[in-house]
Symmetry: C2
Subunit: 158 residues, 2 copies
Amino acid sequence: MWFFEDIEIGRRSDIGAYTFTAESIKTFAAKFDPQRFHLDEEEGRKSLFGGLAASGWHVGSACMSLLVANGQRAVKEATARGDKVAVSGPSPGFRDLRWIRPVLAGDTISFSSVIIDKRTSASRPGWGIVQSRTTGINQRGEEVYSITATGFVPLRGA
Amino acid sequence: MWFFEDIEIGRRSDIGAYTFTAESIKTFAAKFDPQRFHLDEEEGRKSLFGGLAASGWHVGSACMSLLVANGQRAVKEATARGDKVAVSGPSPGFRDLRWIRPVLAGDTISFSSVIIDKRTSASRPGWGIVQSRTTGINQRGEEVYSITATGFVPLRGA
């Protein structure tokens, strides 16, 4: 919902929080990451994680769900104000995803993003490339997750 | 299930194939990535993807499910042969995840991994660090997904 020109390097935004219940951890794991420490409390306690631990893909997907909800909320607000709304391009991927600490059943992770770089695209006129780092912090203030993503954002003038 | 000493740089393994049905694409998206081109055929057709497209997180999670199934199968086979089975450490994360082409409803993606680097860990005695690149190819032979992952693997001697 932002145009390239509106994006400020260093700006941080809160994205929201996600609580990982034991049930949601097991449901995700059964489908996509059926390792024993993601499926069973006792196996989790015996593992290096020290408890029933969310799949890293569950953590990443939960973060994505908050990013999307946040974007949709911002579009609604911009539309209500009568602002022109930018439509981002697809993401080509990301680098430097880190699962820093386990996310255990009952943990609430708060995510925030900061813009770390922006430049205009040489190959796609009318588009800019923006890099942001999103981090997740648990209820004890410990960083558990970080991801550096690249996205295409339209230029206002284009 | 491999020990560090058994791992050969350049070795490629087939991991299996995953078919993305329209229903599975929408179910994942509704929960974790509710963008319109992941939820509705017509919106997908109108988008840059050109059809109902799987969330990139769905593609990554599906690949993970095959990696886990593959690992569990290998453990079973090794156990049946009476081989000692190595237990890998948790993954600290990855770099260079790329969504190269859209994955559309009906696509079947075949995944394979190749070992690209191995070294012993300086900080964790008894462990090695192995880098592998996993790629996904669609039914037309086009690369759609790639991820470079780092994992801890125990030394046989430790």
